[in-house]
Amino acid sequence: MTATPSVLPDTHNRLNRETLVKWAPLLVLGVLLLLFPFFEWLEDFRAAKDHTYLVDSRFLSIRNFARIAISASPALMVAIGVTFIILMGSIDLSMEGTVSVCAVLFAFLFLGMGGTMGSWAILAIPGALIVGAAMGFINGLVHVKLKIPSFMASLAMGFVGTGLALLLTGGDRIRVEDEAFRSLLTVRWFNFPIMCYVALFGLLVAWFIQSRTTLGRNFYAVGGGEELAKASGLNVNRVRIMGFTLAGVFFAMGALLAVGRIGIAETATGNGFMFVSITAVVVGGTALWGGIGGVWNTLIGVLIVNVINNGMVVIGLPGWVQDGTLGLLVIAAVVLSTDRRAVSFVK
């Protein structure tokens, strides 16, 4: 899963192609946004119903965008977390466990301290973020101090996380019913529920970290050349551990939004986040070998994946075709957004 820049990059036409590749994920998203309404139109056309392309599209409506945004919000937070790790050229597979633990502990804390946002229970929110940070910190320690490649370390930590969540709940689901907390989903500003704005806020924070803080820039340095960064006096191990910790915080954000969306915290809260988030990161154009991409790419990637998922249901694709279609569309999206001439091989 690494690639090396080719020794002699072809410099001809580079600017044009570079720009094209840079914006390719957005183009893919745009194409998808036109494609699904087309199928809607086709369906109505066949049924001889009145349907003006795009204008009459149910898919292309604010209400549906809100639905896509709701399902994308928790995934976006998790994907942003893992984006930082992938920028460093590492990978984090512990998100499912971390999300579950954070969700469950948040629910316990929240209910244990009063169960309403107006009480001390509100402290459960920072509490969950701290739990996420701690999980990420341990993950980073295992990876860095035991010198275990992050793929293995985080995979195992994921097992530990899911196991811990199971141990904590004993399999029970914890309902978080507080209206104020659930306003994340139920209260809408400008058609979008509050959780979308929280996710947007998270995205801006991540962007800020990525572009404006030393830590964020150091992710790029480590991803671009770890040995070189080390030689420049950068404490790479510290950057790595802090990266995993930061990822943990964003996983916890994802957990909070996931609980906010369903109102339930359980061991299964984290299920499915691993493949969705990493696929989204790659689809968005962040390279798995590190150093290229960022949180905006991830936003596009998450939107692409969620638009595909939503669109397939909206155009009435049978359930059994959906998996395969998603697979093929993901391959297509990655192919389109990869600068094939800038990499010599991919694993």
């Binding site: 149910r58 898919f59 409506s61 209400r63 549906n64 639905r67 896509i68 709701i70 399902s71 199971l166 709940t169 004993g170 399999g171 029970d172 689901r173 309902r175 989903l185 139920t186 529920p193 996931a258 969306r261 369903i262 109102g263 339930i264 359980e266 061991t267 299964a268 809260t269 299920n271 499915g272 998922n309 939503n310 397939m312 249901v313 909206v314 155009i315 009435g316 049978p318 359930g319 059994w320």
Partner: protein, 369 residues
């Protein structure tokens, strides 16, 4: 139309009958002991390990099953930690491997209650138990060609639920509630799972009597709340106001659907299945129109009990009629009118069952189509 009342009455009657029967049973074993172990009893064990093998702990359904298993263990005067848990995490491979490991460890002195995760997996599980001399009772998943009576005493019993009828009933409640016209959607379980198929069939059967209702769409939500939430969002986009009712394959799916509706500020009737405490609460609040309680607590306990009492020689499965070896579990409808009563008698205060009353609350033999 109080299903509950009828059910409780029926259960009390049978409980009484079987108390008598079990008293006779105790006397019989006592009598046998006087003459020493008979050759037919040679393969039984005085204190077999009791184990429950199930999918996971993240679904309340399985927690109910487990609580039944533990209640049974406590009825033997043991601590509930004496029950061995095997969790397969949705993997048939792990399910089988864990059983094999446990068989090796216990040397076959095992009474196993199991849902094998997937129908094909039942055969190898049963075969290895039989080979090792252990006693096994299965729940839910098995293939149609696998029958306890083909394996002598060691494959004690199989319990399942016939979901088509009850699902049809909930569907009728739903279709009545929407006034017999409009559109409904169905969110199903993992598509290949038997209950998922039966519950969708139930809806389809009911729809035959309601020509003005259209089944807009049916898609699998894999028994998963989050998936259900996303699928329902998609349905809302596609069909919008055409959806006048939702038929869910189980409670966990219903939770996801409810949240999707809540996000849209929509309020349309939905029906569900399984009768989890949370769902029953929602029925009582009127947010879910009806659910079906399958008494997993009893199912979990009695499946373990059957294996255990066969293993100890308390009864001899091969002498029982086929309908005592393959039978359907109980189903109880929970509707807003009786949800409170139901909750009080089944959930808040779990009834203590006689775990030797194997077939009392059961619901007739399994019929293959």
């Amino acid at each position: 139309m109080s299903f509950i009342k009828k059910f409780i009455e029926q259960e009390t009657v049978s409980r009484r009958n079987f108390l008598l029967a079990s008293a006779y049973g105790v006397a019989a074993t006592a009598a046998m002991r006087m003459f020493g172990p008979s050759p037919a009893m040679a393969a039984t064990y005085s204190d077999p390990t009791v184990a429950w093998s199930y999918r996971n702990r993240t679904n309340p359904y399985w927690n109910e099953i487990v609580s039944g298993g533990e209640a049974f263990i406590e009825s033997l005067g043991k601590d509930k930690s004496a029950l061995t848990h095997l969790i397969n995490e949705g993997s048939s491979e792990k399910s089988l491997a864990d059983v094999k490991a446990l068989l090796a460890k216990t040397n076959g002195e095992l009474a196993l209650a199991i849902d094998t995760n997937d129908a094909p997996n039942a055969r190898p599980v049963v075969e290895s138990c039989v080979e090792a001399g252990a006693y096994v009772s299965t729940l839910w998943n098995k293939t149609d060609d696998l029958h306890p009576w083909d394996f002598g005493d060691n494959y004690v019993s199989h319990m399942s639920w016939s979901d088509e009828g009850p699902a049809e009933q909930t569907a009728r409640i739903l279709l009545e509630a929407i006034g017999g016209k409009g559109g409904v959607v169905h969110l199903g379980g993992i598509a290949s799972n038997n209950p998922a198929i039966e519950r969708l069939n139930g809806l389809k059967n009911a729809l035959k009597d309601y020509p003005d209702v259209e089944l807009l769409d049916a898609q699998p939500a894999d028994w998963d709340t989050q998936k259900a939430n996303e699928v329902m969002s998609g349905f809302i986009t596609r069909y919008g106001d055409e959806i006048s009712g939702v038929h869910c394959a189980n409670d966990t799916i219903a939770y996801g659907v409810l949240e999707a509706l809540r996000a849209e500020g929509m309020d349309i009737p939905i029906v569900s299945y399984d009768g989890n405490p949370q769902a029953v609460g929602l029925v009582a609040e009127g947010k879910i129109l009806a659910t079906v309680f399958t008494n997993p607590h009893w199912g979990g306990g009695i499946t373990a009990a059957l294996a255990y009492y066969a293993a100890t020689g308390h009864f001899k499965p091969s002498e029982e009629p086929n309908e005592h070896r393959e039978f359907n579990g109980p189903t109880i409808f929970v509707t807003p009118e009786d949800a409170k009563a139901f909750k009080a008698s089944y959930l808040d205060d779990v009834p203590s069952y006689d775990w030797k009353d194997f077939w009392g609350p059961s619901n007739g033999p399994i019929v293959y189509k």
